[in-house]
Amino acid sequence: MAELPKARDFFESSSAAVGDHELRRKLESASARHLDHFAQVKAEFPPYEDEREAAHRIKTDAIAHLDELLIELTSKLEARGCKVFFAADAADARDYIVALAKAKGASNVVKGKSMTTEEIDLNDAFAHAGIDAVETDLGEYIVQLRGERPSHIITPAIHLSKEDIGQLFTDKFGIEYTAEPEKLTAEARSRLRAIFLAADFGVTGVNFAIAETGTLIVVENEGNGRLSSTMPETFVAVMGIEKVIPRLEDLSHFLEILARTATGQKLTTYTSFITGPRREGELDGPGEMHVVILDNGRSAMLADPVLREALNCIRCGACLNVCPIYRRIGGHAYRSVYPGPIGSIVSPNLFGSAAGYLPFASTLCGACKDICPVKIDIPRILLHLRWKESTGQHPLKWPRAIERARRGARRFATAALHPRTIRMLGKFAAMVLKPFAHNGYLRRMPGPFRNWTKYRDFPRPRPHKRPEPERPPG
């Protein structure tokens, strides 16, 4: 990661995003449409819950046997003529891929959509080496043209309107302005087709790797993954160590749920089973195929019995679509390649403690857990990470305000142990705050207490016990 996210940046970017009504409109409409599709395909597919349970079980079991499965996968891939490289961190992976591209004299690199290559900042590495690397997924192509990063792991350009994209194409290509998705897509198709036919080096991610058969599975809708993996002479697949599943027969359980939750489709348009370099006489496939298997903090997650569950993630993006935080601030505000609830778990672990503020960017409402196709208990892991942060197990540079809040909470805890003190403080507070209350609620408090009421009304403390607060006015 070139830019390590910092808590202060996140407060600034999320505050700005909350005020961006246009962004909010785009996010709300895209998420709502997505959830509609999902509800529909789920209702039409009664075995959904069974498949979900099976996927959860298979993945949990695979993660518990990861070492054996990685050895099996590696030997199967090598037997088929693939070169396998294990990268301990992002720099290892980048250096290997860029050195390979240089050694091959590659000048036209095409990339299929891959979050893992975003994670290792591969595009920057290519740029520094003076090699042109083109993102070929339409959404990724658009954000690359804008010099941005994807703001959603499935729909990279979710933060842009068709008018934004029309203007972008006019600016970049000098074509007549249009905001029609069909025309914009056709323009991108013809430009990218020429690039594909000349490409000499291809890179894609991997959705699943089957240990039993040494097969890499890539799912996509556009065909750019198929083109990136079959047209260039050299092809590199990049995968995290957690992508491996034991057997071929496990695959259908994942494919039956992945597209349904990710895009509301029953199956994505294309599912490629990649089995190595081309054989004698074949028109498709690379002459040389490399597989980069990336750790980059994943084995550290594996070592933590609570965090380990997060390695079950199949990157469907559903937790983003249901998250009340994501839907208000969008992907960019997180300042991390992986936004949303799952991003708040993996980012601090993949990118270091500088992203340790992210587990706090959650209301713990549990919508993510409910929709997760592999049943990851995201709120529980977020709480675990918060605990790690606040007990200093995961040192973090706290903004001073949070440090103060923590001290305050500690004092309150001390006071709460003494019933007489707490009753006295309660009476005192009720007396002092009475003039500020209106209809039983504090709308605005003075001085250091201002932040308490900045985003919500605070029930007025009362001297007499009253088990339930009054209903808010209106």
């Binding site: 088929r80 339409l138 959404g139 036919l197 556009e222 750019n224 198929r226 490629s272 070592a303 019995p305």
Partner: protein
């Protein structure tokens, strides 16, 4: 390879930290579904047709081998194709298809095994074709999917590069679901082949979640289910 051992070692260490289940892999849920009996074939084919249309594909019907060639010739005319690319299939007589198209004055690109020096030229010819014809090894009824195996005689480019794609499939190869297709192919079959599952024409929803067909792959996908004479 030193890295491999280091990472495997760190994975192993990490696993040592938690409880570990030694009962090998999780037991499977997937039932092997037998190839449907003749009586059920029509029903599977009609489910397949419905699902195919739902994802934007065009179902051209269940045809006998005698009807197939003339239907292909008329399709090529309907979409305004000049050049048609085709290879071999697992069951259908593609040479006869090619001859029928030639008689109707379409230019034909026959994909044959290529040497390294001919590859770029052959790809360009396939990419310039307006229609690519291929035969699927299996179809999946529940999702409207085609399982197409590519090799030297039938390249995957046929279902990827031309503007329109036509795929044939034998009716006894229409399976109820994905698990049945994977079971029928088996681990050896999958490992030895270049398999692609195709569910509808190439599409995107990257611009305001509006669906647009034909991003990188074919803009249209046409399917014929072939019902052999002797059935």
């Amino acid at each position: 390879m030193a890295e491999l051992h280091k990472i495997i070692a760190s994975v192993k260490d990490a696993l040592g930290a938690g409880a570990r289940n030694h009962n090998s892999h999780a037991e499977t849920l997937s039932a092997v579904v037998p190839v449907a009996a003749s009586a059920q074939r029509a029903e599977l084919a009609s489910t397949f047709a419905r699902e195919l249309e739902e994802v934007g594909g065009k179902f051209l019907g269940v045809l006998t081998p005698g009807e197939v060639n003339s239907r292909i010739v008329s399709l090529a005319g309907e979409i305004g194709a000049k050049t048609v690319a085709l290879g071999q299939g697992p069951a259908s007589d593609m040479d006869a298809v090619g001859e029928a198209l030639e008689r109707a004055d379409f230019r034909i690109v026959r994909t044959v095994p290529v040497a390294d020096s001919e590859r770029a030229a052959m790809r360009a010819r396939v990419a310039d074709a307006e229609l690519g014809i291929a035969e699927a090894d299996f179809a999946i009824a529940s999702t409207g999917t085609l399982a197409v195996v590519a090799n030297a005689n039938r390249p995957g480019a046929l279902t990827l590069l031309p503007t329109a794609s036509l795929v044939m499939v034998q009716i006894d190869r229409v399976m109820p679901n994905l698990a049945a297709v994977l079971a029928a192919m088996g681990p050896e079959g999958v490992a030895a082949n270049r398999l692609t599952l195709i569910t509808g024409p190439s599409r995107t929803a990257d611009i305001e979640k509006r669906i647009v067909l034909g991003v990188h792959g074919p803009k249209s996908l046409h399917v014929i289910v072939v019902w052999p004479h002797d059935d």
